[in-house]
Symmetry: C2
Subunit: 151 residues, 2 copies
């Protein structure tokens, strides 16, 4: 039976029960996947998180736990928050670039309407949806986030 | 001495040593902060992560651990990966909007150059930096990420 143990039970050097909570999500051919979540969360915390979810959502949870554990091992200071910070910065940069384009289009449209004797097509500039932007203008800062959320 | 115990030592019902690893980052006036990281990571895993870092980076690590624990408690399936997915979607939407604007500007610039007898200002459209975009075009999907990274 030992050859059919999942990666978690192999790692924990225990028998793999037929109703093992880890077995569907931590196959024996990927030992690193369990090793990472075990190092960051511990086996019992991973088991608790999975057990509290409906079976059909446990796979997604195992994936996201592994993603976060992988981020934390790569960047022990920031973990996946480092990725979030980077993405907020990218959105801020995109917003800045888009504002610049919108200002330039406004100039061009004004020129097109006033200077030409021909009927010019006026560009309809889609508004950048401000609801899609982070609430704060600058780069994401976890401390700011914590205080803004009263935490 | 018990009144000066940090939130972690109060939670763990133990004496707070003078060199307590938790004390600087889990003050007694914010018991929830430690309760969250304890629930998701366990005290010993948090202590291990902090102890492996230089003292001047431990505060950032405690903040990011708390942020991730908070996300996991709010969304036990996706945790902070849920935020990352949302941000990737926002960047994808921004890229789509920007492509549309660029196409419309190209039409306007062509009109301005060929139809008018006046010298029109030609808009210089800043290129949207493709290095800032997620490598995959669609919405972020942890399973795709995992397989793309050979994990």
């Amino acid at each position: 039976m030992s050859s059919t143990r999942c990666a978690a039970c192999k790692h924990l050097r225990r028998r793999c029960p037929s109703d093992c909570i880890f077995s569907p999500y931590f196959p024996s051919d990927n030992p690193q996947r369990f090793a990472y979540v075990h190092k960051i969360y511990g086996a019992s915390n991973v088991a608790k998180i999975l057990q509290d979810l409906p079976v059909n959502r446990q796979g997604e949870a195992a994936d996201s736990l592994y993603y976060e554990a992988h981020c934390r091992i790569k960047d022990p200071i920031h973990g996946s928050v480092g990725i979030i910070t980077l993405l907020h910065q990218q959105i801020y940069n995109a917003q800045t670039q888009l504002s610049k384009i919108q200002a330039e289009i406004a100039v061009l449209s004004a020129n097109a309407q006033t200077e030409s004797k021909y009927q010019h097509q006026v560009v309809q500039v889609p508004n950048f949806d401000s609801n899609l932007m982070p609430q704060q203008k600058g780069v994401y800062d976890p401390s700011t986030w914590l205080s803004q959320n009263g935490l």
